[in-house]
Amino acid sequence: MAAAARALRVLPRALRVPSATRQLHSSPVCLKARAARVRAGRGDKAVTYEQAHAPHHIGHRKGWLSLHTGNLCGEAGAAQRAIEDAFLRRFLAGTFPGLLADELVLKRRGNLLVVCALLGRALPPHKLYFLLGYAETLLGNFYKCPVRLELQTVPARVPYKYL
């Protein structure tokens, strides 16, 4: 048994016959009942209007954060848009670290991608303009479509509730 194993190891990789193995692939759990919901706490956590409402309020008390035609009946491309959205949110959260007052709103009009962001006032304007141009150029080159970033600064995050 050990001799056979040693003999197998001596052989070059291409000649080794694959032995029967089983693998288990697990992805992170999708906690559907806890998604996008802020749990009630002691009462000191400030929460914006967007965060305070659960996903079943979308269309009734909330609007959509990402507007595209991928999820309409008879239209394609939903998965591609979802991946792009995820990347865009992470990229912009990293480009403006700690400055985003609320979630990004992504709008797609034809080829154009409009990203609307609410920022705090921690950085001086010339730095914000630089980051704006940087983000637009990089995203435009990456996605091969015109990207427009519309920024607005607010003095502070507006709390809707304290949970």
Binding site: T69, C73, E75
Partner: protein, 197 residues
């Protein structure tokens, strides 16, 4: 007031600068406009009926294709957005002089799927997701191809995000030469012969 604000907001929402691509226009005969607003146009102008040579517009001699019906189906997730877009499209059609046959609102379609709430067991506890698609169908009648092209370009440049459009055109064509007259008129006269058994 609300309409004016809505119109301006929709116009500002357009993604493209308002520079026009060159369009091939069919030859149009300009009728004298009888409802000229404002006395400043009367008399002080040159010839208002003479077609101004616009370098972006080229004329061609081909006959225009005529459309009996132009059916625009607009789909979206948000009913309020579709309602405001309907107001905008109907207003644009009226301004261009296009007759609106009807504005139909087909019922919404809901695509639902039910998943297990938990990762491992608990079959009795599930979670449901749904996607709603609202529709609005605008039907315009009796258009020429250049009018249709202009209207569609304007209305599509101002399409809101998250809204999809499908356009169906019904053409009017002349009846082909070979079926204009009934067949039994063109056949040669066959003499009736008595069949003797």
């Amino acid at each position: 007031m609300a309409a004016g604000w809505l119109w301006r907001r929709l116009c500002q929402g357009s993604a493209f600068p308002v520079s026009y691509a060159s369009r091939i226009m069919q030859k149009q005969y300009f009728l004298p406009s009888s409802n000229l607003m404002g006395a400043r146009l009367a008399g002080s102008h040159g010839d208002t009926q003479e077609s101004k040579t616009n370098p972006l517009v080229s004329l061609s001699d081909e006959p225009e294709t005529l459309y009996k019906r132009l059916s625009i189906l607009v789909k979206g997730h948000d009913k309020a957005v579709l309602d405001s877009y309907e107001y905008f499209a109907v207003l644009a059609a009226k301004e261009l002089g296009i007759s609106v046959e009807k504005v139909d609102k087909p019922p919404k379609t809901i695509e639902r799927f039910t998943l297990l709430k938990s990762v491992h067991i608990y079959k009795k506890h599930r979670v449901q997701y749904e996607m709603r698609t609202h529709y609005m169908c605008l039907e315009l009648k009796y258009l020429t191809s250049s009018t249709a092209a202009v209207y569609l370009e304007y209305v599509q440049r101002n399409l809101p995000e998250g809204v999809a459009m499908e356009v169906k055109k019904t053409k009017i064509e002349k009846i082909p030469e070979h079926i204009q007259k009934p067949v039994w008129d063109t056949l040669p006269q066959v003499e009736e012969t008595e069949v003797k058994s």
